[in-house]
Symmetry: none
Subunit: 210 residues, 4 copies
DNA sequence: GATGAATGAGCTTTCATTCAT
DNA sequence: CATGAATGAAAGCTCATTCAT
């Protein structure tokens, strides 16, 4: 009858993910989490140091899951294949972890300047890690000659922006179609842009990011 | 006499913008705003109904400023010129209103599911308005043949994503170079993508968003 | 154009009487008084030390008016005539000063244990004075043989109770008939009771207050 | 377990009764209640929705106690016996519930015009209920021929006034003698009045309340 | 004298955290 | 292990009072 402790832990996490992603970290009370997880309020403090650590745990576990996704991308392939896989993995992650991803989006910026406390610092580190990964990936694309020379930081951000805003739109229009179905569209958009072919010469005069 | 009250009002707003954009709405206390604005706590309630209305005022004033930016774009020009102008205006706004823009980014998602209260509703309306504008703009681009056929909602989001993440990167790396200097780079990226020209035929098989 | 200071003073008092009697002392704000009196908030502090003193002034002025009413009762007459006059004066006062009387009723007990501050002490003194007057009057009635021997304090209270509750009923049923029209009824009730005559012998066994 | 919570609840109520009856509802702070009840401030909000509900609870519980007192009066007896019992019950209640009764007296009028909120409305309903009871009782006395014809509303008020002012006097002179010892005196006073017998013909000319 | 903008002490209420059971 | 009653620090907000104009 008694649930195993691991079960309780993940019930707490599930409840917290839902509530945090719906109402935000601040507006969610520990009482609500306990009640949604069908657990006593005190029990939460057996599994987590405090409310912030519940949040941190969610983020860390989500992050390592995302990391695993990325690491599964085989190393030998050429850049363009990897890029498509990256986009696919990203979308797949968001599709499989709607709530966690929504949580990522929502709290992404809310933590800045809390560099003193552990929570804010870890959260920032994670974002930095993601950005680092993107930047290096873009650099590799340029090195391989697949991408035009440009600031890889901005380019990584731009890809990140395209993908995450697409997910954002998908999340809040609650599209039923699978998010991963957009992989190729985003892949093509990032590589070749939105313009019709005959426009390409028109924009010929545009300079690269210096 | 009248002057003084306007002064206090904007001092309060300035302090609130800074604090909200740094720490978020929830984590900022009225005491902090008062203290940063060099104003008594009670004074704040002379100028604003409550804490939420300070936030609302900031957002609304910022929004109408952004709206004015967009409206200044001349109506007669062709789509591509307007697109460049749109990107420029967006970047200019973010450059001129760093704090407000940061606030926009930070609280964008934190308000969802608070559709009941005025604050959340107004905030959502504004985002919707912005998105609506983007979508219609993309539709026009397609109608004029400047853009490849695609879901204009996703396309608007993608442009929005490219720009806002670029601003994000700029904001938190605190680049000294003017943000508007990135106009052409983003313009080109959105239209022609990141790929080197010789890759274009490689990605030929990619299908459009259906 | 400028009102004479005495006028302002009484406008403030009038506004305060209305508000205090409607909402009670605590629930009435100085802002409300100022606004109802068409006077600046600061002006109130030119005429009164603080909010409590407005209240005190109202009570004191009402009290001295009541005192004057009582003093007008001619001294030579016999007790029973004076009693009728007392009841009449009391009712007349309440009729002419509805609001002030309501204020009396409302705040009568709210002040106890505030013996330290001036306001509570003065208020209590006034009640004591009224009670003292009643007690002495009852004593005189007994001395003259008009009243049965009894504790004059209780008897004074009883008369006070009969009258004030009658006024209470009248105030809140908003009777249009003049309150003073009840003089004789109360006079008779106090002297001969509510019983039908044939009941008198039934209650013969009742002992007096010892 | 259950016992403890009931204990805390009544400790809070006891503290609140004392403080409200001494200082009034408005002037009593939640901190004071908590401190007098030897309870944390937050604990109060475990047992009561807010400060108003503490008050409301006290009044309702007191009222239902008073109601029970009245209901214990046997129904078969004649009016005069019941009248004596009513007076006795009233005095007994006040004697046994000094503080609650004092609270009744103090806040009786302070709530008027707050008919909108629950607190004021409930309080007014209770007073109305008591008055209704008195009025019907007086009517019955007249129907049975025990009382002289008169407006039963005023008559009920008068009896109420006699009793409550007597309790008032007793409360604030802190008499040690039992309040119920005054039953017969009040009974006689209400029925036969305060006059010496030989005065009765003098007051013969007095008209009844029409 | 007259004003009302400015103030901050003090209020009610919330909620993360503790700890006895 | 599990609980939820108990707590008090901290929040948003009110309003009597002051004072520069």
């Amino acid at each position: 009858m008694e649930k195993m402790s691991t079960e309780k832990r993940s019930e707490i996490l599930d409840a917290a993910i839902k509530l945090f992603s719906e109402k935000g970290f601040e507006r969610t009370t520990v009482d609500e989490i306990a009640s949604k997880a069908n657990v006593g309020k005190g029990t939460i403090y057996l599994y987590f140091e405090n409310k912030e650590h519940i949040f941190l745990t969610i983020i860390e576990e989500g992050m390592s899951q995302l990391r695993r996704f990325f690491q599964q991308m085989s190393k030998e392939e050429n850049f363009l294949s990897l890029l498509r896989e990256l986009i696919f993995s990203y979308l797949k992650f968001a599709e499989d972890n709607r709530e966690i991803y929504r949580l990522f989006l929502k709290e992404r910026l809310a933590m800045r300047l809390f560099d003193e406390d552990t929570l804010g610092r870890r959260f920032m580190e994670m974002h930095h890690e993601l950005h680092q990964f993107m930047t290096e990936f873009m650099q590799r694309g340029m090195d391989e000659g697949a991408l035009r020379p440009a600031d890889p930081g901005y380019l990584g951000m731009a890809l990140n922006g395209i993908i995450s805003h697409t997910v954002f739109y998908w999340l809040f229009t609650n599209e039923q179609q699978p998010l991963t179905g957009l992989t190729d569209a985003l892949y093509r958009l990032f590589l070749t842009g939105a313009a019709n072919d005959f426009n390409l010469n028109i924009s010929g005069g545009v300079r690269d990011v210096s």
